[in-house]
């Protein structure tokens, strides 16, 4: 069973400090919404409010339209998985997973049968009798996930659940979560500071900064059409090319780049993602620049280019980062052409 979760005008204070300001957000039934932000942005507090572990200073939490703000955590039908698995160390794996059934008054045998179904789902059926201390980090997190799912929550809340795992284990957990979503269709609210994790797992991302939602939208929208410089940076965008919007295009050292028709005219920053730019031959290039740095990053390299000033006298100096496959045969000081791979661009003004 899954439900729609809505936050309506949520604000929260710890003493004099306001940690959340007028948050309104919806997680449709069966969807996965990621709350993305740096430490201290208020995302975990929002999750605790959703779980009923904190009462908001103002605003309402709604589940399927019903106000649950005053409902205690144990009655709220949510389940929370933290970064640390927090398996009860005095209970075996199966007793951990059976915990919610036991709390609901089911017999030990029935609770164990129910728990074993979820252990099977996370591929740990053979580990039922072990104690948490006998599991690896990845196995512990799988059990924590099984324990939360065995509660059959209307909303599954995940607070950076995979960030303590190494990369291969994290990939396994992503696959597992995908399987769980296919089979159970839970509504998931995922808190993470990892934009890649948010992009891989969620359909939509809400970017939080200093207790405010800067933007909530689809993964592609947030990456390519950020609402502000802050969102662009939080989503890993490295480029902010100053220029002017005039006549349906942005004019900058990158040249004339068409922008959406409803873009306001005036000074604006073009924010092409580093993956959306490419290096070209000098002849006939959209823009020219001098390479200032080449940094290898696995199968990709990041090339930083100081762009030449454009023909217009008032254009500011600009630099861009371009992500290229492999290792380019370029050295700092070389001249290169730079071009946008997309026919149009996106600008922000703040």
């Amino acid at each position: 069973m899954s439900s729609q979760l809505s936050f309506s005008g949520i604000s929260h204070r710890f003493g004099a400090q306001e940690v959340l300001t007028n948050i309104s957000l919806e997680a449709p039934e069966g969807s996965c919404v990621a709350l993305l932000g740096a430490s201290g942005s208020g995302k975990s507090t929002l999750l605790r409010i959703a779980a009923g572990l904190e009462r908001p200073s103002a605003g309402r939490v709604l589940m399927d339209g019903e106000d649950v703000s005053e409902v205690n955590a144990e009655k709220r039908e949510t389940a929370l998985v933290f970064q640390q698995p927090l398996l009860f160390p005095h209970l075996s794996v199966v007793d951990n997973v059976a915990f919610s059934s036991r709390m609901a008054g089911h017999s030990r045998a029935a609770a164990h049968r129910h728990a074993c179904e979820y252990l099977e789902l996370v591929q740990l059926a053979g580990y039922a009798r072990r104690m948490p201390g006998q599991l690896s980090g990845g196995q512990e997190q799988r059990v924590a996930l099984a324990r939360a799912l065995a509660r059959q929550p209307r909303i599954l809340l995940l607070d950076e659940p995979f960030s303590s795992l190494d990369l291969p284990l994290r990939e396994d957990m992503y696959e597992l979560l995908e399987t769980i979503r296919e089979q159970l269709r839970p509504t998931i609210v995922l808190v993470t500071h990892d934009r890649r994790e948010a992009s891989v797992l969620a359909e939509s991302i809400a970017v939080l900064d200093h207790g405010e939602i800067l933007q909530h939208g689809g993964v592609a929208q947030l990456h390519h059409q950020p609402a502000s410089r802050a969102v662009n940076r939080i989503l890993g965008g490295l480029n902010e090319v100053p220029g002017v919007v005039r006549g349906g295009a942005h004019h900058s050292p990158l040249g004339r780049v068409p922008v959406p028709a409803d873009t306001a005219e005036g000074p604006a920053l073009l924010v092409p993602r580093q993956e959306s730019l490419c290096l070209t031959a000098v002849e006939g290039a959209q823009a020219l620049g001098r390479v200032t740095q080449v940094r290898a990053s696995g199968a990709h390299s990041l090339v930083r280019v100081a762009l030449d000033r454009g023909p217009e006298q008032d254009q500011e100096q600009a630099a861009v980062a371009v992500e290229v496959t492999g290792s380019p045969e370029l050295r700092p000081g070389d001249i290169t052409g730079v071009a946008l791979q997309n026919p149009s661009g996106w600008t922000v003004t703040r």
Binding site: A79, F88, S92, V94, M103, R151
Partner: protein, 280 residues
């Protein structure tokens, strides 16, 4: 010059041996140090006659062991057990509550007041037991408290610093988010306390209870002075036997009887702890 893998392994082996053997030797030495004083006690408990400079008793008897089954000794054992368990329960509960109170700033309190309360709670460790007991005795006589109750109250105060310290140490690493997880899994506040908090603190409860049991089980001064000779426990019988001449056999048998219950309790707790860590 690079070393082959077998050469590296050969060179490492002596260090591996030292790391393995040294703790074993130290553990063995510690065991001997603890167990060695028990050897003469064991021998005396079954000795008929044992005169210097004989290395071993010249005759053997079970009289001292049989005397442990006498009603007076059995009753003293029951009283000691009752006192030990009562002190364990009372001091463990109060120590746990005190530690929770000391854990953070109390409502309306400050870290400074918390430290002050902590200091006051630990003062019985600094006050000589005799002074503590004499002062308490006057108060308890005035209050006409029954001897068992009086002994229990004073021994609980004596044991409280130990139990409080055990809980304070355990709570320092206690993770509140376990309780948050339990609540989101449907546990009511009472279930959180019973199924999660008590479970997580069980090792500390066991350690605190064991220490407090030892305080009650092995006490002599408080039982003599507060009990006024009315409340006879095993340590009182042991003291009496030890102070009389020619009572070495009974003294040894009573000493062994004093040692056995705590050791059994310790083994049970250790086994339970080991079982908890490895399987359900």
């Amino acid at each position: 010059m690079s070393l082959s893998r077998s050469e590296v392994s050969r060179r490492r082996r002596p260090r591996w041996r030292v790391r393995t053997v040294l703790p074993l030797l130290l553990g063995l030495a510690l065991l001997i140090w603890i167990m060695l004083p028990l050897v003469p006690v064991l021998l005396w408990s079954a000795a008929g006659a044992w005169r210097a400079p004989d290395v071993l008793p010249s005759s053997w008897t079970a009289d001292a062991a049989l005397s442990l089954a006498e009603p007076e000794v059995l009753m003293a054992g029951v009283r000691s057990l009752g006192l030990g368990l009562s002190v364990a329960v009372t001091a463990t509960v109060l120590g746990g509550l005190a530690a929770f109170g000391l854990r953070g700033p109390t409502p309306g309190g400050s870290p400074a007041s918390t430290r002050l309360i902590g200091f006051v709670m630990l003062t019985p460790l600094a006050v000589p037991p005799f002074a503590l007991v004499m002062g308490s005795n006057v108060l308890l006589l005035g209050a006409r408290a029954p001897s068992f109750l009086g002994v229990l109250i004073v021994l609980t105060v004596t044991a409280l610093p130990y139990t409080t310290y055990m809980f304070v140490t355990a709570l320092a690493s206690y993770e509140d988010r376990f309780e948050a997880v339990a609540r989101t899994l449907g546990a009511s506040p009472a279930q959180v306390v019973l199924k999660v908090r008590l479970g997580l603190l069980m090792p500390a409860i066991a350690r605190a209870g064991f220490l407090a049991f030892l305080v009650g089980w092995s006490d002599y001064i408080t039982t003599v002075l507060i009990g006024g000779g009315q409340f006879i426990t095993l340590p009182l019988l042991l003291g009496s036997a030890a102070s009389s001449t020619g009572g070495e056999q009974l003294t040894a048998a009573l000493s062994l009887a004093m040692i056995v219950p705590p050791v059994v309790l310790l083994i049970l707790l250790a086994r339970r702890g080991a079982r908890g860590r490895t399987s359900s």
